[in-house]
Amino acid sequence: MNLAGLAVAVLVHTTAAGDALTEPVAVEWFAVQATHEDRDRGVMQFGDGLDAVRHSIEKFVEKKRLDLDTFARIAHKKTDASPNTETKLGINSRYTAFVMPLTRDDRGRVRLTFRIEETSERDGKKTTRDALNTTSSVAEDSPLLVGGLKLESGHLIGALLVGK
């Protein structure tokens, strides 16, 4: 085998799509209401139950210099998500989150689709649309943060964590 052949073989091996999941994947979901309460500059206040994702949210808000300083948990769910099936994760009456694990790559990351559905009622009839639909590969110790969607007050920030 020449060098080019070897390089292609290595490349194909390393970019393989991943193994199909046979077992449910443990997921943990946090939905957070982020608001601006005009606190002292640089001071962020986090409500109870956000320790697992506080650091990631803090870092993101600081880096993007978002005008947000108060964070309150509005939904939390810890469950096992079956492969290739959407598992419902709550947010509020307007938004609903869904996660669907697809595969696990050779580095242990779970490739999944994550969707936030928005519901609206018009003329007594409910309609829905995807406020956000994403495909991601989520590492065990690194959450997927989604956010920016408007709430009645402030913005939504969601954090999705996956386990083994």
Partner: protein, 152 residues
């Protein structure tokens, strides 16, 4: 041109450097005692110099080893430089492969600890979606910025 002195002519005669006629003249000179004494001292000096030179001799017992060395030198083919270049080429190729594999492995291990976003979309009109991965902690972010143009 300066004419050589009689000493120089005698010295050249001793060294065999003179032509036939010059040599005959010098031989005639040697009848005189002064010339003959100088010639005798030259002969003594030459003899002493020859004796003081180191002599390399091969003893009978050393001859087989000596001849074996000569044969080896004659019969052994001279080494070319092909082996060196082949080795250098192989080493370079191996180094390139090793570096390539190393960089691919490093690339993979870099991704392994990071969450990444392949695609993100929204049905909301006019929103901007920003995605990025924090290189330090591997967190991936999908941020939807509502521009306010949505009429849904």
């Amino acid at each position: 041109m300066k004419r050589p002195t009689w000493q120089e002519r005698l010295e050249r005669y001793r060294d065999g450097e003179l032509g036939e006629s010059d040599a005959q003249e010098v031989e005639a000179m040697l009848d005189a005692p002064a010339y003959r004494d100088y010639d005798a001292s030259l002969a003594a000096l030459s003899s002493a110099a020859r004796e003081s030179m180191p002599r390399s001799e091969i003893a009978d017992a050393q001859l087989p080893a000596f001849m074996a060395g000569i044969r080896e030198g004659v019969e052994t083919p001279q080494r070319g430089h092909r082996g060196f270049w082949a080795l250098a080429s192989l080493s370079t190729a191996a180094l390139i492969v090793a570096l390539s594999v190393f960089s691919l492995i490093m690339l993979n291990s870099h991704d392994a600890v990071h969450t990444t976003v392949e695609a993100a979309a929204s049905d909301i009109e006019g929103v901007e979606i920003d995605t990025y991965t924090d290189e330090e902690d591997g967190t991936a972010v999908v941020w939807v910025s509502d521009t306010g143009s949505d009429t849904w």
